[in-house]
Amino acid sequence: MGKIIAAIILAAIISSCTSIDCPVQNTVYTVYKLYKADGVADTLSDTLTIYTYRKNGSDSILLNKKTKAVVLELPISYQNHEDTLIFELKDTFNVLRRDTVWIAKTNQPHFESVDCNISYFHEITSVRWTNEAIDSIGINKKDVNYDASTEHFHIYFKARN
């Protein structure tokens, strides 16, 4: 009898050690992977800077002078219906090419627990872009949430000499 009670108490103690998996931060990221036109992963030789415009009109740099970019992780706004991102590429001759990317999406608040900050999950509905340096962008995964293991966008830059 004593053994049974001890086993039950032990099981209760072990089982009661539950934890809530709060994300370290409540920003949900989008992942972009660079590809060549033939579908091979690309490494960008130019220097890449990405920024957006804040509510007050000022710039907010999301990626600063990144070289040899292969995969990009960029934030996504909580409640904007469409995010505008400016891609600036500067080559070794200091020639600047600038593209604008518009990402349309839905916004869904996500409640985990009262102990965790609110997050916003999204579904990407469309993407459009200008064609200065970018050839095309494909949506690989629509849902943007805590899972950033699969890239959301495949981005193809124009061939460089």
Partner: protein, 229 residues
């Protein structure tokens, strides 16, 4: 001479038959003595009602808890079909995350306990049992507002009265001790496992009446005052 011999054989056979008959009657009588030891405890032994003291203490000292009572049928001090009903509530306003959560709803459980003691008629009981439980509840979740760290826009959200539900099962182990007359005190430990649920549109729910905090499994406990009727 032959007549005497026949008479002797007859008497011997008669004597042996009488001895065997006597032995048979005695054995049969002994069997009857064992057979008449009937179980005098009736099959239906009445009801008991109980209230849980742990839930109200939790509700008073913390942000959530339950008020719970149960009706239990005593069948031969061995089987105890039980119906439990309660009212759970939670109200939490988090100082760190500024999240507000509120719910209150009834819940019920139905199941059966088995008295595990070898001598079941002492008045003390050790139970093992199973429950099925269900609740349908409404939640209010709100956040007063926060600023998007990159874009700088203020965001807020709230849901009010959104209907959620949950089905779950419980494995129960408990002990009741007879204190005085019909009064018992007892405790039980419950392993709860969710089998189906409908959460809010914004993701999870935090507290489920009767089940406790959100999760696939939980451990709970009750401390009961029980009165046999």
């Amino acid at each position: 001479m032959t007549l005497q011999r026949n008479t002797s054989i007859y008497i011997s056979r008669l004597a042996i038959s009488l001895i065997m008959l006597t032995a048979y009657v005695a054995m049969h009588a002994q069997n009857k003595i064992f057979a008449v030891q009937k179980d005098t405890v009736p099959f239906f032994k009445g009801f008991s009602i109980s209230i849980d003291l742990a839930g109200p203490v939790m509700r008073t000292l913390g942000d959530y808890g339950e008020y719970e009572a149960s009706l239990r049928i005593n069948l031969h001090n061995q089987y105890f079909p039980i119906f439990e009903i309660g009212y759970g509530s939670a109200k939490h306003d988090d100082e760190v995350t500024s999240l507000y959560y509120k719910t209150q709803a009834p819940y019920f459980r139905i199941g059966c306990d088995l008295n595990l003691l070898k001598n079941k008629h002492t008045g003390n009981r050790m139970f093992g049992g199973l429950r099925y439980a269900f609740t349908s509840y409404k939640v209010d979740i709100a956040h007063p507002g926060m600023q998007d760290p990159v874009w700088g826009w203020d965001t807020s959200f709230s849901i009010t009265g959104e209907t959620c539900s949950q089905h779950w099962i419980e494995a129960v182990f408990g002990i009741d001790a007879k204190i005085w007359g019909p009064l018992h005190l007892g405790w039980n430990v419950r392993y709860k496992r969710r089998i189906a649920h409908k959460d809010s549109s914004v993701g999870n729910t935090w507290y489920i009446p009767g089940y406790g905090k959100y999760g696939d499994t939980r451990i709970g406990a009750n401390f009961n005052v029980i009165i046999d009727i």
